[in-house]
């Protein structure tokens, strides 16, 4: 596909010359660098509750964001109107961050290399609405059929297609078509006259609807959510204090996202305010740990052909055998630090300034047999699923909340445990990793990462891991 056939050229008549002119406007007061981010986002979502379609929504938002960098300063403006006057106005507002005569030569835009990590043929939204309702109804039925104790089921199916175009004053012209689909199932179950408990499961990625019919079916997610709710009916209070903790494979990789990932985002390190600042080359985890952030895995929720600054995503090694190796860079940080961009510049929408962000963050597999890991623990906690986490990147303290966990007694999983928060300190916690399983698993594809008010889709993954010391925040 050439530029003239691309979405914004075809639908809005944008030409290369238009883009070059807007960039000139943006740099008219002497900025060092400027970029344009055009976005057209079509979304659709349905939710079923009490077996009724309670909400069905679709819509469109579009706009362009203009950024100008002058030294360490950023000027930003956006418009939800793609008329030339409005775009030029936004460019002139963003240009105000610099004060002087224009100094950058006129830009000549070159298209970057092309690849397609998500060759989705039938775009989300093009599939008949009825098919999507059917999919959600299947999940509703399956969850109810799982066990008579299930009494509430809520199913959400949402998909969207984002068309983006990035043009930069250093000559990069990129465009991408980014599909994203997600199903989630929330189940409540109770014993007769008992206290309700909930279970949640979901997944998706840069996929089309067919994936939910063949790879990960509504019955799979529904069964998983119902199973978790039923398990919780017999849960006991979580222990309190330091424990041996075993993380199961997959979603518990959120540990890496909180304990390590955020602290390695280059903006915090440029400012010197991360607990990992100045620790490059130092031991920050046990030698068993190698952690990567990889935006290039086909079809994954956190993957992108190009990041939101027009750079190709890549596989970045963050920690190698326990040694801190790399930061996640966006354009601004890499300019200031003199580092190579890592394809990690992301933003929520055209209304937002890009920042260094994660894509799919996971730990590579080790050599231990997962069963052997559990057998090695005389007394501890096994965490199979998490509800989410948070980190204070400056002190390095992080938490994550277990939604499905079990006591380990004499090397066996025994009783399920109620919600417990795990807490640790980023550069310290992973030094206590003493076994890493051979069963690396990526999560199912429901992760959302929030930073400074911007949400982006991400993935995580981890093999079964034993951590010798971690504080568990229970009541028992």
């Amino acid at each position: 596909m050439s530029f003239s056939d691309s979405f914004f050229a075809a639908k809005f008549g944008l030409s290369r010359r238009d883009l070059e002119n807007y960039l000139s406007d943006a740099l008219s007061r002497g900025g060092d660098y400027a970029d344009l981010y055009f976005e057209y986002l079509a979304t659709s979502s349905i939710s079923i509750d009490e077996s009724i379609v309670k909400s069905a929504t679709q819509g469109v938002s579009l706009g362009v964001g203009v950024r100008v960098i002058s030294g360490e300063r950023t000027g930003y403006a956006y418009s939800d109107d793609l008329s030339p006057e409005k775009i030029r106005h936004a460019a002139q507002v963003a240009a105000m961050i610099a004060a002087g005569p224009a100094k950058v030569e006129k830009t000549a835009l070159e298209e970057g290399p092309k690849r397609n990590l998500y060759p989705v043929l039938t775009a989300p939204g093009e599939t008949a609405f009825k098919e999507r309702v059917k999919l959600a109804q299947r999940a509703d039925r399956a969850a109810r059929a799982y066990d008579p104790r299930v009494f509430q089921v809520q199913v959400m199916y949402a998909d969207n297609l984002r068309q983006v175009l990035v043009a930069t004053s250093d000559g990069n012209l990129s465009y991408d078509r980014q599909p994203l689909a997600r199903m989630s199932v929330l189940v409540l179950a109770k014993d007769k006259d008992g206290v309700p408990q909930q279970g949640h499961a979901g997944g998706g990625g840069r996929r089309e609807l067919e994936w939910f019919q063949t790879e990960r079916t509504p019955e799979y997610f529904a069964g998983e959510a119902a199973r978790q709710a039923i398990v919780q009916l017999n849960a006991v209070e979580a222990p309190a204090g330091e424990q041996i903790v075993v993380l199961g494979p997959g979603w518990p990789g959120v540990l890496l996202h909180e304990a390590v990932g955020h602290g390695l985002e280059a903006d915090f390190n440029r400012k010197g305010v991360s607990a990992f600042s100045g620790r490059m080359g130092q031991q920050v985890a046990s030698p068993l740990c190698t952690v990567v952030d990889d935006g290039t895995i086909g079809g994954r929720r956190g993957s992108l052909n190009v990041d939101d600054e027009g750079n190709e995503t890549q596989r970045n090694v963050l920690i190698e055998n326990g040694i801190l190796r790399g930061y996640l860079q966006d354009k601004l940080s890499s300019r200031i630090l003199g580092a190579t961009p890592t394809g990690s510049g992301r933003r929520e929408s055209y209304e937002h300034i890009p920042m260094p962000r994660m894509t799919n963050t996971f730990m590579l597999a080790g050599e231990s047999d997962p069963d052997e890991i559990v057998r090695s623990v005389p007394r501890g906690l096994y965490c199979a699923n998490f509800a989410g986490g948070q980190v204070d990147i400056t002190s390095g303290n992080f938490v994550f909340s277990a939604s499905e966990s079990y006591l380990i007694e004499d090397g066996k999983l025994t009783r399920p445990v109620r919600n417990a928060t795990l807490i640790g300190n980023g550069p310290e916690a992973m030094k206590y990793v003493s076994m890493v399983g051979n069963d690396l698993k990526l999560d199912e594809g429901i992760g959302v990462c929030g930073k400074e008010g911007q949400s982006v889709p991400v993935g995580v993954g981890i093999p079964t891991v034993r951590i010798d010391r971690m504080t568990v925040g229970g009541t028992a």
Binding site: T43, I52, V53, K54, S55, A56, T57, G59, S61, L62, G63, E72, R73, T74, G75, Y76, A77, Y78, S79, D80, V93, F129, K130, V133, Q152, Q154, L188, V195, P196, Q197, Q198, A238, A240, G241, K271, G272, V273, E351, I353, G388, G389, Q390, V391, D392, T394, S395, N397, F398, V399, S401, R418, N419, A420, T421, I423, T471, V472, G473, G474, T475
Partner: protein
């Protein structure tokens, strides 16, 4: 600004026309919401301007009913073509969804708007010069950096302002519009001691520039807060009294809101479902939702379904008096809406709160502190470990340990855990220091005992 003002005045007519198009297209009922906003943000770090952001946007959302079937759509394109496409999208969806026996708009006699000047809008925000806004942020950061040599770095200080407008119209004759403003100053300094860093923040927010605290006080308080966290230790695991300072007590109110909003009630996804009229908390607890108080951030003249806002006692002297409802959840529960419908431009109306606050008690925070021999004064909570279904509560906490009635030494990397049920009944003290900042407000609260997990 004049262009935007004219455009805003035109929105009610566009909203009503959207409704007419929907009815002409086969809808039996329709409602349209429109939002407009222009935002400004300046961030200063280490004395230098770092980012400057300025822009405006608008959007419209539509919900239609065809009998008992509902569909919704939204767009950021308010041209006639954009509106036509939005109307068609909603009607297409409604004709394909299933019937919902409780789907409907509010009755005509439930619609309306409270009178009087709510003072949500101030002209002075639009008139502020960019230089003044940057300088205000700079002053806040400078005060933080000058406060103590231990403040070595900063994530910066910001000035943010917003001028917004909301329009709502429906096919039962309601049309209303209002505009609002806010501005805020915040600072995030970093304190360092022996190579370990701690950060904290403070902010001030008001409807108008004149209502802001001085930028110097924001910087100073943020710096004080960051410094008092330095040298934190992890405590032994134990049961202890826990004091929530107002900033963290607000998050506890957020958890209670989740437990009393109608959706979680009719789904039985709340530990308070079915408890109306029962004593669920210590009798010193009176929790109010009031969307009518002039100038405050939880105030609006009508909710997002066109129902007047009001004052609703949620818990009165420990007794659960009311849930917070929109039209849908009220019909599900056989009750009346409490004027708490809340929505953005996309989707259907959910439930939000107005000014949601806990009534103040008698003692000052210092008096409460003096009565504690060994306890935990919490200044920040992180993580999402609150389960509204069961009431289970477990969160990461940062704060200061109390010894013999004094704030003794900082503590971090611990959790506090209990259940919301036990916490509500185990309230030991409520402070006199209620202050309205955002839309959720609480005084200092002391819980008699919780599990503090650490070493």
């Amino acid at each position: 600004m004049t262009a935007a003002a004219v455009a805003f005045d035109a929105l009610p007519e566009i909203a009503q026309d959207t409704i007419r198009q929907a009815i002409a297209g086969g809808a039996t009922d329709a409602e349209c919401t429109m939002a407009e906003g222009s935002e400004f943000s300046a961030n200063v770090r280490m004395g230098e301007l770092e980012t400057l952001k300025e822009a405006g946007s608008r959007g419209a959302g539509l919900r239609v009913l065809i009998g008992r079937r509902m569909g919704s759509s939204y767009t950021s394109d308010l041209t006639p073509e954009g509106i036509r496409f939005m109307v068609k999208s909603a009607i297409d969806l409604a004709s394909l969804t299933t019937e919902d026996p409780h789907a409907s708009l509010p009755d005509a006699d439930e619609l309306g708007s409270i009178g009087g000047d709510l003072r949500l809008f101030s002209d002075d925000v639009a008139g502020l010069s960019t230089e003044l806004k940057i300088e205000t942020a700079r002053r806040a950061e400078a005060a933080a950096l000058a406060f103590d040599p231990k403040i070595t770095k900063s994530e910066g200080a910001s000035f943010d302002s917003n001028i917004g407008g909301r329009v709502f119209a429906n096919s039962r004759g309601f049309v209303g519009a209002y505009r609002s403003t806010y501005c805020s100053v915040s600072a995030v300094p970093v304190a360092t001691l022996n190579g370990a860093m701690e950060r904290d923040y403070w902010h001030t927010v008001a409807r108008d520039f004149a209502g802001l605290d001085s930028p110097e006080s924001v910087g100073r308080i943020a710096a004080e807060r960051a410094i008092r966290r330095l040298g934190a230790v992890k405590m032994e695991t134990q049961r202890a009294p826990v004091i929530f300072e107002p900033r963290v007590a607000r998050s506890l109110l957020g958890n209670l809101f989740d437990a009393v909003e109608g959706r979680s009630i009719y789904r039985e996804a709340s530990f308070l479902a079915g408890k109306l009229g029962e004593k669920i908390a210590d009798e010193r607890i009176t929790l109010i939702d009031d969307g009518t108080i002039p100038r405050l951030f939880g105030t609006q003249p009508f909710d997002d379904e066109g129902v007047p806002t009001r004052r609703t006692p949620v818990i009165e002297r420990g007794v659960l008096k009311s849930y917070l409802l929109n039209t849908y959840t009220a019909r599900k529960l056989g009750m009346k809406t409490t004027g708490n419908a809340s929505r953005g431009v996309t989707g259907n109306a959910g439930i939000g709160h107005g000014n949601f606050f806990l009534e103040a008690g008698e003692k000052t925070p210092a008096e409460i502190l003096r009565g504690v021999k060994n306890g935990f004064f919490v200044t920040e909570l992180i993580g999402s470990g609150v389960n509204t279904v069961t009431g289970d509560y477990s969160r990461g906490a940062v704060g200061i340990w109390i010894r013999d009635g004094e704030l003794a030494f900082p503590v971090s990397e611990v959790t506090i855990a209990s259940t919301l049920q036990e916490m509500l009944n185990g309230i030991a003290e409520i402070g006199s220091d209620l202050e309205f900042r955002g839309s959720v407000s609480a005084p200092t609260i002391m819980i008699g005992e919780m599990t503090v997990a650490g070493r």
